[in-house]
């Protein structure tokens, strides 16, 4: 990959081990959830991390979002390494710049807070807006931008559908003006027509808010639609990486080939997804 710009996010030789110790045997077992992953995310682009469940996709996302500590390796945002930062340093430099949208939209919202309050609280935490009224207006505008309406603001999460809730989650992430959005299986829990709506929304706001996406998914048909680059994860290792078109047309790794073959084709005459 040749690029004229500097990467916004750089992941170098990331390792995450989980150590489990049995009750009887004193030997501890080490499980490499993430094993030596390196990737680069460029401003305004979308990097899709694909792989089967248990391949370490979500763990990678959580480490980048600084929700988990890496065992080894570094993650840098605009050239600044924050892997070993203290919570207060993270709060100052990283929090708010990297936001995550989770797979389960319901669990990502406090069931006892209205969605308006959820967005307003995010603004409060990031100290955006000077008065309560201003924050409320920003929250309203952001929610409207993702396709919700003013009267939704005073409703509770259980009064919404999954697709609407995922819009709320996206709105909350957008409200704090992040640079990077990590979408961890964000559309996998939605049904197909809603998936398409949310994906279109994501495409629209990407340019509008000059975002970069790290798209974590197992759904290759979505990847082809949204991603510029693809990294294929298998058992914690990045087995193949490249531009989306390249990967889909000329997969080199055996696992990637199997993964691509597993995607059902809409046209039986068509041999390859992009062929």
């Amino acid at each position: 990959m040749k690029h004229e710009t500097e990467p916004i996010l750089q992941v170098n030789n990331l390792v995450k081990d989980y150590v489990s110790r049995g009750l009887l045997n004193s030997k501890s077992q080490v499980f490499h959830a993430v094993n030596n992953i390196s990737l680069e995310l460029y401003p305004g682009s979308t990097y899709a991390l694909v792989g089967e469940s248990g391949s370490g996709k979500s763990t990678t996302g959580k480490i980048i979002c600084a929700l988990e500590k890496a065992t080894a390796g570094t993650v840098t945002l605009l050239g600044e390494n924050y892997t070993n930062d203290s919570p207060s340093q993270l709060r100052k430099n990283i929090r708010g710049n990297i936001q995550m949208v989770f797979q389960d939209p319901f669990s990502a919202l406090n069931p006892r807070k209205t969605i308006g309050d959820a967005v307003i609280e995010a603004l409060q935490i990031r100290d955006i807006g000077s008065s309560g009224r201003e924050r409320r207006n920003i929250a309203r505008d952001t929610l409207q931008r993702v396709g919700l309406s003013v009267w939704h603001m005073d409703r509770y999460p259980h009064q919404f559908s999954g697709g609407q809730l995922q819009r709320v989650n996206i709105a909350r992430a957008l409200a704090v003006q992040p640079k990077i959005l990590i979408l961890d299986e964000s559309v996998s829990a939605l049904d197909v027509s809603i998936q398409a709506q949310v994906l279109n929304l994501l495409q629209e706001i990407k340019e509008e808010f000059s975002l970069s996406y790290l798209f974590i998914t197992h759904d290759l048909s979505v990847v082809r639609f949204i991603a510029d680059y693809v990294g294929v994860l298998f058992k914690g290792q990045l087995v193949e990486e490249g531009e989306t078109k390249e990967i889909f047309e000329h997969p080199e790794n055996e696992y990637t080939i199997r993964l691509l073959d597993s995607v059902p084709r809409t046209d039986p005459q068509q041999r390859h997804l992009l062929g």
């Binding site: 600084a66 929700l67 993270l90 708010g96 919202l109 406090n110 995010a122 309406s149 003013v150």
Partner: protein
């Protein structure tokens, strides 16, 4: 400006589309309808659970009877009358008179007042402290480990034993009864709060708050606490009932509310000697005690139903 009626209509059809977004609606107008709706649904939920409704009503009646009636009617639980000694229930003494000629009805009501005072204070004190201990021990696992070992230690004592020891050391007074029972019941509340907090901490909304850079105070007290309140209230009502029972038991063995102040426990103790001659000395305080604890437990069960999210969806 879109009128209220138009909004109502638009609320009815599904709203996933962004096409008909009114652009300049006054927010404050919208605010009120939403809040009111939510309160209504809580009231509807309470009405839908008969045990919460009737338990609550009967509890209010008991509280009213014990706290308001004796003072309004100017009853005297200490006045003795030699001619009324061991008088059976009659119009003069609805629940009879005891071995020194005191009105049992007045004593049952005053005893109820102190029982409710002890139960209520214990519920509030151990409720508040248990909430704090439980929430922090879940949020900071290292402190929590030690806090929970202390709680285990406290739970190993039977409540009565701990109460007797403390009363023995500090002297017999209603304040010390409340103190002793509060310490005993803190671990029970803390356990419930801790487990509810821990299960909430695995929810993604906490991860989102962390990734936004929220302080732990905000995460714990302004978000997780809201979701822990329901199991907490239920546990506190059960502590309320338990504290009344333990107080009665302590009074029964003479370490509770000091004589001659009436309490259901010491009334039962006094009645032992006369159980064959004067059944009313045993039955009325006993029934009052059993009924109160029963009603509180029913109310607690009702609250459990009301707060069950599966019912409220």
């Amino acid at each position: 400006m879109v009128s209220q009626i138009d909004n109502k209509n638009q609320q009815i059809d599904d709203v996933s589309g962004a096409d008909h977004v009114p652009n300049s609606v006054d927010i404050d107008d919208e605010n009120k309808t939403g809040k009111r709706q939510n309160q209504n649904s809580l009231w509807a939920a309470i009405k839908s659970s008969p045990s919460a409704l009737y338990g609550g009503i009967f509890l209010l009646i008991i509280v009213f009877a014990c706290v308001v009636i004796p003072h309004v009617m100017k009853m005297d639980p200490f006045a003795t009358k030699a001619s009324d000694i061991l008088m059976a229930p009659s119009w003069q003494h609805v629940m009879g008179a005891d071995n020194v000629g005191r009105d049992v009805f007045a004593r049952v009501l005053f005893g109820g007042e102190s029982s409710l005072l002890v139960g209520g204070s214990v519920a509030v004190v151990s409720g508040v402290l248990g909430f704090i201990v439980g929430a922090y021990s879940a949020f900071f696992p290292k402190i929590g480990y030690w806090l929970m070992r202390v709680c285990d230690g406290l739970m190993a004592f039977p409540a009565i034993l701990f109460g007797i020891a403390l009363i023995g050391g500090l002297g017999q007074s209603i304040g010390n009864v409340i103190l002793a029972l509060s310490i005993v019941f803190i671990p029970y509340v803390a356990r419930v709060v801790r487990s509810a907090t821990m299960s909430n901490m695995n929810e993604n909304y906490v991860s989102v708050l962390v990734s936004l850079g929220a302080s732990s105070t905000r995460i714990l007290w302004r978000n997780i606490a809201l979701n822990v309140i329901a199991p907490w209230i239920i546990e506190v009502t059960f502590v309320f009932a338990d504290a009344i029972l333990v107080e009665a038991a302590m009074s029964f063995i003479g370490t509770g509310i000091p004589q001659p102040s009436p309490s259901w426990g010491n009334m039962l103790y006094d009645s032992r000697t006369y159980i064959y001659q004067a059944w009313w000395l045993t039955v009325f305080p006993g029934v009052a005690l059993a009924l109160t604890v029963f009603v509180i437990n029913i109310f607690g069960d009702g609250l459990r139903e009301v707060f069950d999210p599966k019912r409220r969806r």
